[in-house]
């Protein structure tokens, strides 16, 4: 808050210092240019895009880029801002061909993931997820994500410790001038190895020289979808079927026990009305308010903005509040020199869910879980009120800033940028005794992620003559990344009134700095940090011939401290070329307004995020075991061992890299009424590190080796058509974007052709996001139905003979035994086709917008249903998998789809990895339905300087069409296993206004 106050003060100071209304030179980059046109017309030439003397520093990188880029890359922030989103991912979902966004929960502010052109790694854990995310660059400042190294101390890895807030919730769309999704190397190369997964380039509104005030706001209501609740009777009836079928007297064995909570049908808590949903699901108000002011002269200008936003979840009282402010100032003390500085500061407060699982994984202690929370409202609200005795405060500050110096000497330009992105999070927790079987819990987390970048680039324009034009640039980038956290938690405080882990503060006391409220032996403290630096140099040459042909070549060298000293540098070239067919061949054809062909090919290093690989053979302090990862040492001494569980690291690890090629064409036809672009791409990420399970007789779970390669090939298609042009009374704009992607594993380390990691099979020639499942063909009703092989043995599953009540799994290789050999790869966790379909209908001042989002060729494993049927094993254990949330009492899925196997069988009849649980999860959603009324002209009559005045109403997440029988098919994590934990993405109704004057 202090930061915001300071910036506000600065803003006021500046508005006071610089007079408004100097209209002498309003050469600011027009916002209107972008409005209504996501397919930006290419009007500026190579020359113009470099700093033209306007205050402010334009990136020099654009010289011929536009000719070499797909036109489908650019998005229109004005349109995106209609969506009441909190995160960048939510804004971008379904908006750009080739960018796939995963939103596994509707809980506001949670982490979401993006994939550009498929995944370049098998998504096994948070590590791979982090390594596959695109780089987001805000005004030249590369943003830093939340490093997954903290997962190392977590027994349960559902959420990272700390606030686990989406660090891309810092983009206020009202401040954004343009968003570009850069997918191929021709455009991402200058961002280096961290941009190997693609780059999302965000440019904020630049200050103008004319005084301008903008204001926009919306208020809305997020509403839950209705649910069907069930109670103990339903569950009891469900289970009784199994007992009736497989047990003689209601007990499977004399010593097993029927769950207490289902045993007593008079127990009102479980057998009474199941009305918990009244307390769990609620409508939430959402709103957003943004205002900005900009102005200045041709020598100095500024823009200042403030915003606040509330995003509400419809379940469990979740929500997130964001306060943001941004200030940018440009100064031009002499004609050839420009200074520019920006600060963008955000604070996000998150109200998190109260899931039992998430709480226990934070608390790291499993109480007795034999009875779930009762479905009755009274009992449930009693449970909820226990949370009020404690707190769970999550706060994240995200700050970006830069200082840029620009020197413009005509043909020669130089820009130096010092950029900083810093995000810090705190989470303070106190859970009262009543929540954890009379043990209270306190925890404090503070951590930050920080990236400082020094980016220098010099460009030189050289025009040999009218036909031959050159542009040369050289650049250097140094990036310093630092990630750190300190974390402590404690159990068994002396009472529920002291909610802090207090330490003895008297240095003279023998107990100095020892905990005084919580037991010393039950206070756990963690400190960790990791740093890595990157140094890069590049040279780039662009050449255009008669404005018809353009060529560009980049050669860069990158060094990372996360690479071993002997392989620190990676050198990579990228070439691209463009051909303006219209100018060359169709100059006289009036039906074709433009037609460009582009191609690029090149190589780029892939950045390694973990610092341990650079160290070669190494030692760690880990001596944990299953269920206890934080064993501090032996006999009170720290230990050092080889990284047996993390995997052996040798001396010969090298850079991973990506080879990419693309071929694209874009054209506009019929006086720009139809714009289309098609891009075919080939992307192969090679020599990537993978922990190959081996070396068990040397104590290792795996050996880290180079050599994994994954190829993604596909097509991005974007078409927009002005079906009824705007001049008419009634107009209709329609656009579709879609991506078809095919993923394929092309190499594994050491020439292996397949590898089993956990319950996944990585097989060369197959996609890495597939499920590895048994084929289920029914049930054996009697023992005699089980086939007997030639040796006289019954068909077995992993050595256990199958019996009546076991599934009839298909013995694919016919060897008389069901083993891993009989599993097949099926389905895809990531969609093969995804995209959006947008329509705008206008009538007079009215505009009706319809945004559809779709995924095709995507499957999910309905783990939630598998868990329901596997109740014997889930409840027999007392571990994190035995947790049943309040949503256990919600009816989801189609019970009739599954046969009644013997749940006590040791062949795991309800294991999720069989084809009966794999379901088609393709879907089509109407994501936004909006109606806008433009009042600009009406207000212009009253006040001349009104530039825009619009009001709109919209509904978001209107409906979903899918065959999937579980919850919303979007609500699934990267693994593709639907555990049922995704919180509803709410249907939100909003009313908003946008004003510029």
């Amino acid at each position: 808050m202090r930061i915001i106050a300071t910036i506000t003060f600065l803003g006021v100071l500046c508005t006071a210092t610089y007079p408004f209304g100097n209209t002498a030179r309003s050469a600011c980059i027009s916002n209107n240019l972008l409005f209504n046109e996501s397919f930006l017309q290419q009007t500026d030439t190579a020359k113009k895009s470099v700093d033209t003397g306007v205050v402010g520093i334009a990136s020099p990188k654009k010289s011929i880029e536009k000719k070499l880029q797909s036109k489908g890359n650019k998005l229109d922030p004005k349109k995106l801002s209609v969506f009441p989103a909190l995160s960048l991912q939510q804004y971008l979902k379904g908006e750009s061909a080739g960018l796939y966004v995963q939103e596994p929960s509707g809980e506001p502010g949670t982490v979401q993931h993006m994939f550009i052109h498929g995944t370049s790694q098998p998504l096994l854990s948070a590590r791979e997820l982090f390594a596959t995310q695109p780089l987001v660059v805000l005004d030249g400042v590369p943003l830093v994500g939340e490093h997954p190294f903290a997962f190392d101390i977590q027994q349960f890895k559902y959420d990272r410790i700390g606030p686990a807030t989406n660090t891309l919730a810092n983009i206020n769309m009202a401040n954004i001038k343009s968003i570009e999704v850069l997918k191929d190397l021709s455009s991402t190369a200058i961002y280096g190895p961290k941009g190997a997964n693609g780059v999302i380039l965000i440019t904020t509104n630049a200050p103008g020289t004319k005084r301008k005030i903008t204001f926009d706001s919306y208020v809305g209501l997020a509403q839950p979808n209705s649910v069907t609740t069930i109670n103990g009777k339903f569950e009891n009836d469900f289970r009784r079927q199994f007992y009736n079928k497989y047990t003689a007297n209601g007990n499977y064995s004399e010593n097993d026990v029927y769950p207490l909570y289902l045993s007593d049908s008079l127990n009102n808590a479980f057998y009474g009305p199941s009305n918990w949903n009244d307390k769990y699901y609620n409508s939430e108000v959402v709103y957003g308010v943004n205002a900005s002011i900009s102005g200045g002269t041709d020598r100095a200008n500024f823009r200042f903005s403030l915003g606040t936003l509330r995003s509400g979840g419809v379940a469990d009282d979740t929500g997130a509040d964001r306060y943001d402010t941004r200030f940018i100032i440009n100064m031009k003390p002499v004609s050839w020199f420009t200074v520019s500085a920006m600060v963008n500061a955000n604070q996000i407060m998150r109200q998190r869910n109260r899931n039992v699982r998430d709480r226990l994984s934070q608390v790291n202690y499993i109480p007795d879980l034999s009875s779930p929370i009762a479905p009755n409202k009274d009992y449930y609200s009693g449970y909820l009120s226990e949370f009020n005795k404690g707190f769970d405060k999550n706060k994240t500050n995200i700050i970006e800033g830069y200082v840029k110096l620009g020197v413009n000497l005509g043909k020669f330009n130089f820009i130096s940028t010092l950029g900083l992105d810093y995000n810090e999070g705190t989470r303070d927790i106190f859970f009262a005794r009543t929540l954890l079987q009379s043990t209270n819990y306190a925890s404090n987390y503070y951590g930050y992620n920080q990236r400082a970048t020094i980016d220098n680039v010099a460009t030189y324009d050289y025009d040999l003559n009218e036909d031959h034009k050159f542009n040369f640039s050289v650049g250097s980038i140094i990036q310093y990344d630092k990630y750190r956290y300190s974390y402590a938690y404690a159990y068994k405080g002396s009472n529920d009134f002291i909610k802090l882990n207090l330490l003895e503060s008297d240095p003279n006391n023998g107990n100095y700095l020892q905990p005084t409220v919580f037991r010393r032996e039950l206070v756990y403290k963690f400190l960790d940090k990791t740093r890595n630096n990157q140094v890069s140099f590049y040279g780039k040459a662009d050449y255009t011939y008669k404005e018809k042909y353009s060529f560009s070549a980049i050669l860069r060298g990158d060094a990372s401290s996360n690479q071993q000293p002997t392989n620190r540098w990676f050198y990579a070239p990228v070439f691209s070329a463009g051909w303006d067919i219209k100018k060359e061949l169709l100059a006289d054809n009036s039906s074709v307004s433009s037609l460009n062909l582009r191609a690029s090919a090149g190589r780029m290093g892939r950045y390694e995020n973990f610092d341990n690989y650079a160290q070669g053979p190494q030692y760690t302090a880990f001596i944990g075991f299953t269920g206890n990862l934080i064993s501090p040492g032996y006999n009170g001494f720290a230990v050092l061992n080889r990284p047996y569980t993390a995997g052996s690291v040798g001396y010969d690890l090298k850079w991973a890299y990506t080879d990419q090629a693309s071929l694209g064409i874009n054209g506009s036809f019929l006086n720009d009424r139809i714009n289309a672009s098609i891009d075919a791409y080939f992307k192969e990420d090679k020599n990537m590190l993978l922990g190959v399970p081996s070396g068990a007789e040397y104590g290792y779970t795996s050996i880290i080796k180079n050599g994994m390669a994954i190829r993604n090939t596909g097509v991005d298609l974007a078409i927009s058509a002005n079906i009824l042009p705007a001049e008419k009374l009634f107009s209709w704009n329609s656009s579709i974007n879609l991506n078809f992607n095919q993923n394929k594993l092309t190499a594994l380390p050491g020439g292996l052709d397949q590898l089993i990691i956990g319950d996944r099979l990585l097989k060369i020639g197959e996609a890495v996001d597939r499920y590895w499942v048994l084929t289920n063909e029914g049930i054996y009703n009697t023992d005699s139905e089980v086939p007997v092989n030639s040796g006289g043995y019954r068909l077995s599953y992993n050595g256990i003979g199958l019996k009546a009540g076991d599934p009839r799994w298909k013995d694919l290789n016919g060897d008389g035994a069901i083993t891993n050999e009989d599993r097949t790869l099926t389905g895809h966790a990531l969609p093969q086709v995804s995209g959006g379909f947008n329509n705008d209908f206008s009538y007079k001042k009215w505009t009706l917008g319809l945004n559809f989002y779709f995924n095709l060729g995507r499957e999910l494993v309905n783990q939630e249903m598998a868990n329901r049927f596997d109740f014997v094993n889930r409840e027999g254990q007392n571990n994190i998998n035995s947790v049943r949330e309040i949503t256990f009492w919600e009816k989801r899925g189609d019970y009739s789809k599954y046969l009644l196997y013997n749940p006590w069988s040791s062949v795991a009849p309800y294991q999720a990895n069989q084809d009966i649980f794999v379901e088609d999860a393709s879907f089509l959603k109407l994501r936004t339905l909006s109606l806008t009324y433009d009042l600009t002209e009406f207000f212009k009559k009253k006040a001349a300087n009104v530039q825009k005045f619009q009001v709109y109403g919209s509904v978001h997440n209107v409906f979903t069409l899918t065959k999937y029988t579980g919850q919303d098919p979007e609500l699934v994590s990267y693994t593709g296993y639907d555990t049922g934990y995704g919180m509803q993405i709410p249907r939100t109704f909003t009313l908003g206004v946008k004003m510029d004057f």
Partner: protein
Amino acid sequence: MKKIILLGLIISSLFAGSCKKALDINSTRVVNENNYWNTLEDARAAIMGVYGLTRAALADNNGHWIYGDVRMGNFDSPNRQDLKAVIKNDLNASYPVVEQLSNWRRFYAIINAANIFLERIKEVKAKDARYTENNMAVDMAQVRFLRAFAYFYMIRIWGDVPFIDSSDDGNFENRPKTDQKAILEFVQSEMLAAAEVLPYRYSANDIQQPGNYYNEGSGRWDGALVRKLSAYGVLAHVAAWQGKYVDVINYSKIVLNDYGKASMGYVSTQDLTDRQGLFYDKKSNQLLAFGFVFGHQDATYVGNIESLTLAEPVVNKNIPDIFVPKDSILSIFKETNDGRFNIDTTGITHSQLYFTNFAGRYPIFSKIKCIQGGSTDPTFRIFSSAILFTRLEDITLLRAEAYAVLGETTLATNDLNIVRQRRYNVDHMGLQNSSSTDYVAYSRAMHGTLIEAIFKERQKEFMGEGMRWYDQIRYHKIKQNNPAFLHLIETGGIYWPIAKDLLAQNPLLKQNPFWK
């Protein structure tokens, strides 16, 4: 001119950043080869690492007890299907715990760490003068013992296993299984060599370990490390496993003669079952144990017997994972005057140190219950009992077994009575007799043959200490009267299957024939 200056500035700023320093970062999360094997502290971190890995290997998935107590043992499980499978010896069952327990990787981590230690420790000796010759000798002896111990433990579980005695760093060549007899020869010679070098106690002015070990007093080390008698005690087990009962006598004699030097003694029933008794913390009486010391913040939710056995009313968990059914309790604890547990004919329990809530549906096996720091607080299930591999009573009964097998009935009876003296010394109300000689001694008429009495005693005395399974194998080898069990022994059904993951990684391995 202006341009030239500017150009100069620009060019210098472009390349000024190329400092190599930025690229050399020593990770704060791992230690590389340059920074290790240099100092005394490195040696300490390394040897404690081998201990820590040993503890982790035994604690992982509660393996020590699932291998030793749950498999075809005294326990039954109310609800855990995976444990039910182990109880039934159904070890191919598809449960994560069963699959992970059939993986031997964590034992090879001990062996690899030991091999690296033995190969590299001389570097510390060369670089750090504080690291004395004696310190190194004692360290190496401990590490050699732990490596041999890991092999012994694995052989009891899998039979033949690959034999690896070098770190083979970075190469990791796959090896086939080696005959367990050859490995047991190695185990025995290594343990003997270690036993000769090891002291009776650490930091206690033993001639074989003068001065303070790693600058810490004896209180820090007592019970935490392998001592001379630990080595002989385990050697007795190694010999018994091979049926070499003469060797058993030789090794156990050393333990039973010299335990005074090691500041040890027999424990009372009270001490055995106390919350802060034998199993709590680290103690000299733990002949070989790997401790989870509460004061060192080692206490853990899993990796102990308590997490399996304890439940209401001892801790606030509804149903125990495993329990001894009432019928079994009654048939095992049939003798009167037993301080651990006895019940009179009217069904009233007088002494219930071993079992709580006998009247309930699930009697709670509460012999070992080191909750938190040995407290009675049932609300937080974190435990600090040590993984105890052997103790004086074990070695005594082992010697009794050896004497009995070799026909030395009197000597065997004497040894058995040493233990009985401390257990069958309560009156019919469960109160301890005042005189230490007032106890029920072994008599053939009352307690059956000597062998049976010894093994019965073992069953009671070491319940929940991971011994039962191996005792049964020895018992049936001696008795030769249970065809079903002998079939298991002959066909390798007493071993565990080798995990699928291991077979997939190392094509030289063959599944144990019984489990194919």
